[in-house]
Structure formats: C-alpha cells, structure tokens
C-alpha cells in the first residue's frame, strides 16, 4: 500500500512536469500545425536559467521560474516570427529547422553552463518533507502537482471560457475561415507560441526540482512530451493532462512492476492509443 501510494504521487508529480511541457507543444501543433522539436531544449534552457537565478545567485525560486519562462517565451517568439511562420504547412522543413535549433541551443547551454549536470534545486520553504504512509515525501513534489494542476485549470479556462480561447479553437478547426472573419490569427498564433515556449521554460524550472538541469534533457524530455501529445491528442489541454498523467503513472509503476520493460511500456501505451484512437484520447478531429 505504501509503495502504491508513493508511486501514485511520484507518477502524478512527474506527469505534471510532462503536462506543463507538452501542453504548449500540443497547442502550437494544434493551432499552427507546427511541430516544434526545439520545445525540449526550451525546457532545458529554462532549467539552466532557473538554476542560475535560484541556485547560483540565490534569488527566489518563483522569480526564477517566471524569468526562465519569459526568457524562453521571447526565444520562442523569435523562432516563430523569424523562421517558423514562413514554414506553415511544410512539416519536413519545420522538423529540419527545429532540429537545427536543438543543436544551436544545446551548444549555447554547453558554452555558458558547461557539461556538468546541475543537480535538482527548489524553493527554500519546499526543501522539507512530510510523512505519507511511513515514507518522507518531499514538499517540492507536492508543489509540482499543485502548480501543474493550477496551470491545467488556467489553460482550460483560457481555451474554453474566453474569447481568445474561442478564436484559438476556431483557428484550429478552420484557419482560413477564421482569418476570413477578420481575426488577426497571425497575432494570436504568435502569442500562443510565446505562451507555449513560456510554459516550456517554466516547466524546466518546475521540473528541475526533480531532475535538475542537464544537456541531455533537450531530447530525453522531448521524446516523452511527444508521446504525451500522441496519447492525449493535439490541440487539447485536457488531452495533454490525461496523456501526461498516464505517462507519469505508467513510468512510475512500470519501473517497479516491470523494470526490464519500463521504457517499452510507454511506447506500448502509445501504440495501443494510436490503434484505438489515432487522433489521441481527447484530440481534436483531424
């Protein structure tokens, strides 16, 4: 029972990190049709910026998270305005370009922060632990769950209950018709790309409480985020949340129940979802 409860919490906390990362990826893919493979390195960049501000310079963890999110948001905006908006409907070119960004940003991080991984860090008041079924459980993991679910609620509200959200949904359903109604979809798309990149950097700092900052994260975490988008479906906040939670839980329980097949389980889950519902569990219709 103790192991089950701890695994449940661990899966939920890791799932929330994956949600923060994959929600931006999913929304950008859904609205703009842009597959941004540099999303993982924006996460990594956010983690390094957060480490510098919170762990190295000693400023507030939350200031670090917001600053890192803003910095990666601006970086994402530059990528979108400067390059990606010219490649709408050209998936091959998008993949090649964003893979290029992966190498460039990874090397910039290597140049600035060096090759040694930065260990996990958190806010001072989150350093302790409380007891759950006889196990000390860190406050930082609970904070990740709270932040993840709060952001999920905020994004859901934004997408489902506001005019901007309605425009975003309309743009996803029929881009040309939305533009024909006089809506500046370019502006909305740019703003959405900023939000997606902001969330990636923000997730980097929130996730750094668990996994620190490491040059390998750019691709490692992107792989998981892509699985989440495939499972949850693109363009759906709820889908990203469900997909992320499923991956987090399968990862946590898989390592205990089927340690030799833990990674395989993630892909197996993805294959099953693709076979049953190719658009993802809660994805918008293609």
């Amino acid at each position: 029972m103790a192991v089950f409860t701890i695994c449940l919490l661990n899966g939920a906390s890791f799932g929330c990190v994956l949600f923060l990362l994959s929600s931006g990826l999913s929304l950008v893919l859904g609205l703009m049709g842009i597959l941004n493979l540099a999303h993982g390195v924006l996460y990594m960049l956010g983690a390094y910026i957060g480490w510098t501000i919170a762990a190295h310079l000693g400023y507030s963890f939350w200031i670090a998270a917001l600053t890192a999110g803003f910095a990666t948001g601006v970086m994402g905006l530059i990528m979108e305005r400067g390059f990606l908006r010219r490649l709408i409907g050209l998936p091959n070119e998008q993949v090649l370009l964003t893979i290029g960004f992966v190498y460039i940003i990874t090397n910039i991080c290597l140049w600035i922060w060096g090759s040694i991984a930065k260990p996990p860090f958190t806010a001072k008041f989150l350093t302790g632990a409380f007891t759950v079924v006889g196990w000390p459980y860190p406050y930082s993991r609970v904070a990740i769950i709270v932040v993840g679910l709060s952001v999920a609620f905020g994004l859901w509200w934004l997408q489902e209950k506001t005019r901007i959200g309605a425009i975003v949904r309309a743009g996803m359903d029929d881009r040309e018709m939305t533009k024909g109604l006089g809506i500046n979809l370019e502006l909305i798309a740019g703003a959405l790309f900023f939000v997606g990149a902001f969330l990636a950097g923000f997730a980097g700092v929130i996730g750094a409480q668990l996994i620190g900052a490491n040059l390998g994260h750019g691709l490692d975490i992107l792989l998981l985020a892509l699985i989440v988008v495939v499972i949850g479906g693109m363009g759906s906040v709820q889908g990203s949340l469900v997909g992320a939670m499923m991956i987090g839980l399968v990862d946590a329980f898989g390592k205990i129940l089927f340690p030799d097949f833990a990674m395989f389980m993630l892909y197996f889950l993805m294959v099953i979802v693709l076979v049953i519902k190719p658009t993802g569990l809660l994805g918008r219709k293609l």
Binding site: F14, S115, P120, A129, L210, L215, D251, A262
Partner: protein, 401 residues
C-alpha cells in the same frame, strides 16, 4: 642498322630511367622514412552522454602528449583526435576506420564507452592495430588481440570497493542501482563479486535504470532496508538520483557507495552539503596520492588548467604515459607484435601508482594492468568540498579463472 641504333638508344634510355629511379629511391627513402611520424589516433566522446566525463579524460591525456614534446624514442609522433559521438556503433566505427585506413594510425586510444569499444576492437585487432582503453575497459575487450587495459576492467575495478564496504565501512547489506548499459552492469557485477563472493556481504535488491532516466523515485521506493546504496551511472543521472533520494529521506542512516567516479569535483558544491560523511567512491587516480610522479603531474595540470586534476584526468594522463612508454621500449618501432611485448614488459611509476602488466593469453589477447585502487570520501576544506583519499589497495591483481 637504323633499327639496331634505335634499340640501343632505347636500352640506354631504360638504363638511365632505372638508374634515376634507383638513385632517387636510395636518396629519398631514408629521408621520407625519417620524417614519417608515428600516428596515434584518439577517438573519445566530445558529444553525447559521456562528453562531460570524457572532457576530463582528454585534459589529462593531452598533458602526457604535450609533456613528451611530440617526440618519443627520438621519433616524432602525431595525435589525431576524433569524436566517438553520441553512442552510435556505426558512427564510431566510421571514425575508427577513418583513423586506420585514411590517417594510417599506428595506435588507437579509445573509444570511452565500452558499448562502442568492444565492436571497434573486432576491427582493430583484425587490422593488428594496438588499441588502448582510456579508463577501465570491458571484460569482453580482453578477448581481442592487441587490446590493452592498463586501468583494468570495470568488473575488476569495482571488486576492491566491495572489500572496502565490507571491511572498513561495516556494510553488510546493500541495494544496488546501476546504469542499464554494459559498464553499468559490469561495475555492479564486480562490486557484487568483491562484496559477496570475496567477503560475506548480501545484496538485498538490484535495479538498473536506462541512461537519461529523469525520475528515480520508483527505484528509490522499491529499495529494501539496507546498510548502503551502491550506485553507478553517468554524472547527470547520479546527481538526479542522489538529490531525489535525499529529498525522499532515503539517504538517512544509509551509506552511499558510488562506483564509476561519476560524482565529479564540480558537482560537490551542490551535492557536498547533502552527502558529506555519507558517501564513498572508488578512484582510478587520486590527487592526494603521495608519489613524486603524481606531484609532478599535479603541478603540470594545475599550471595548464588552473585547477587540480581529478580521477578522470589522472586516468587520461596514465594511458598517455603507457602508450609512450611502450613506444620507448620498442625504440619507436610500431610493429604491433613488438608493441604487445613492450606493454607486457612495462614496469613504471605513474601518478596512479606502481604499474605492471598481467600478460594475456599466448594469442596476444588483451593485457591488463596491475596497479593501485583508491577509495575516496568527501571532505570540506577552506575552498569547499573535495574528494579526499581514505584508502589505497596497492598493486591489485585482476581476478582470472
């Protein structure tokens, strides 16, 4: 008559051409021979998950070559560096082939990753190119002719850590968690050999996590109550594991024994406060080991890089010394059989301690070093946290059935 004259002229011309060719070859061959440098190909990771470790190894290796001033036994040597890449065997094979077939190297050093090194040895041994491991090698490497593991193998190197845990730390039960790749398994197997077969310790649970594992919490929860956790992975994963285990209170009343030298000195600023008094790791090289050779290396390293050498830098320096010493013994002859005999006869003092070699089989299969193994512990000094030497096992012989 005219025909005969023409024939005679042709003969004279042929003789002249042959004479020119002969004289030319006599004059130029020694000159070219004297200029032809010995070529050493180094294939080590500059990208991929091992790049952070290998950068330190390269720093030490470069010093050994620079110290020799590009001359060995009166002959010039040239070093050609290649990247072993992100872990793709095809990628590294292309690099090794390029070194052997295009650059015509006489000796190969590396690759670092044992998953990649073993396949390259199948090729280099067939081509009779001596290949030296930079750090501890894989057991499988020793089956190949012309493969040299001066720093022993991962399996052999971890055995003394098992002895130390049992004899000095009074550890009787352990959980182990290793990186799920060739060296990860071999290190853990070596520890288990030393701890359970050569002593009377007990392993209560064993786990292997893929490289790049982000969340270790499930492994931590699955561990059973024990005196120590034995850990082996790449630096990023080790940092994540230790921090997560610390957050979850799993390091309370539990010692940590790290194999693989992956808690690098720059990581101690962040990890030191959490782990001081609670973690030990083995080292191939230890900066506080007292010997004139080590003192000299320490000074050279400090002067060049502005910080003290660590274990990986010492290993890199060590392999450079071994390669050059073998060439000194052969007087610069790069014949692989002569290099093989030379390596077996090496007896030298290195910064890693006194080094001799245990000969392999008669078929020129791999040769392994006999040298000191060190155990180190985190201490806090006025300049921060550092790894201090706490025990030396001198002249450790590999266990061979």
């Amino acid at each position: 008559m005219k025909k005969m004259k023409s024939l005679e002229q042709s003969r004279v011309l042929c003789v002249l051409v042959l004479a020119v060719l002969f004289i030319g070859s006599v004059w130029t061959a020694p000159a070219f021979g004297a200029e032809k440098p010995i070529k050493i190909g180094v294939v080590l990771a500059r990208t991929g998950p091992f790049a952070s470790i290998v950068g330190h190894v390269l720093d030490g290796l470069k010093i050994s070559f620079e110290q020799a001033g590009s001359k060995v036994a009166g002959k010039t040597f040239e070093v050609i560096y290649e990247d072993e890449g992100p872990g793709d065997p095809a990628f590294v094979m292309d690099k090794v082939r390029k070194l052997v077939e295009s650059d015509k190297v006489d000796i190969v050093v590396g690759p670092f990753n044992s998953d990649l090194r073993v396949p390259t040895l199948a090729y280099t041994s067939k081509k009779k190119i001596p290949s030296f491991a930079v750090v501890c090698d894989d057991e499988a490497s020793l089956k190949f002719p012309y493969a040299y593991a001066f720093n022993q193998t991962t399996y052999q190197e971890a055995r003394p850590v098992g002895w130390y845990a049992f004899d000095k730390l009074n550890v009787r039960t352990v959980n182990t968690i290793g990186g799920d790749w060739r060296a990860g398994h071999a290190f853990i197997d070596g520890f288990v050999q030393g701890f359970t077969n050569e002593r009377k310790g007990k392993v209560v649970s064993q786990h292997f996590a893929p490289i790049g594992t982000t969340d270790f919490s499930s492994y931590i929860v699955a561990m059973k109550p024990a005196d120590a956790i034995v850990l082996m992975s790449v630096p990023g994963d080790v940092a994540a594991f230790l921090s997560q285990a610390h957050q979850m209170g799993a390091l309370k009343n539990t010692k940590v024994i790290n194999i693989g030298q992956s808690v690098l000195p720059p990581m101690l600023k962040d990890l030191g406060p959490k782990l001081i008094g609670n973690i030990w790791q083995h080292a191939e090289y230890q900066p506080f080991y007292k010997s004139p050779t080590n003192k000299k290396f320490g000074e050279l390293f400090q002067a060049k890089y502005g910080h003290p050498a660590g274990s990986l830098e010492g290993s890199g320096y060590g392999v450079g010394l071994v390669v050059l010493e073998a060439l000194r013994i052969t007087k610069g002859d790069t014949n692989p059989d002569k290099i093989h005999e030379a390596v077996k006869s090496i007896k030298m003092d290195t910064p890693l301690g006194k080094l001799t070699f245990m000969p392999g089989n008669a078929d020129k299969s791999g040769v392994e070093g006999i040298l000191s193994r060190f155990i180190e512990e985190i201490k806090q000094g006025k300049d921060g946290y550092y790894w201090d030497l706490v025990h030396e096992y001198p002249e450790v012989k590999p266990l061979r059935k």
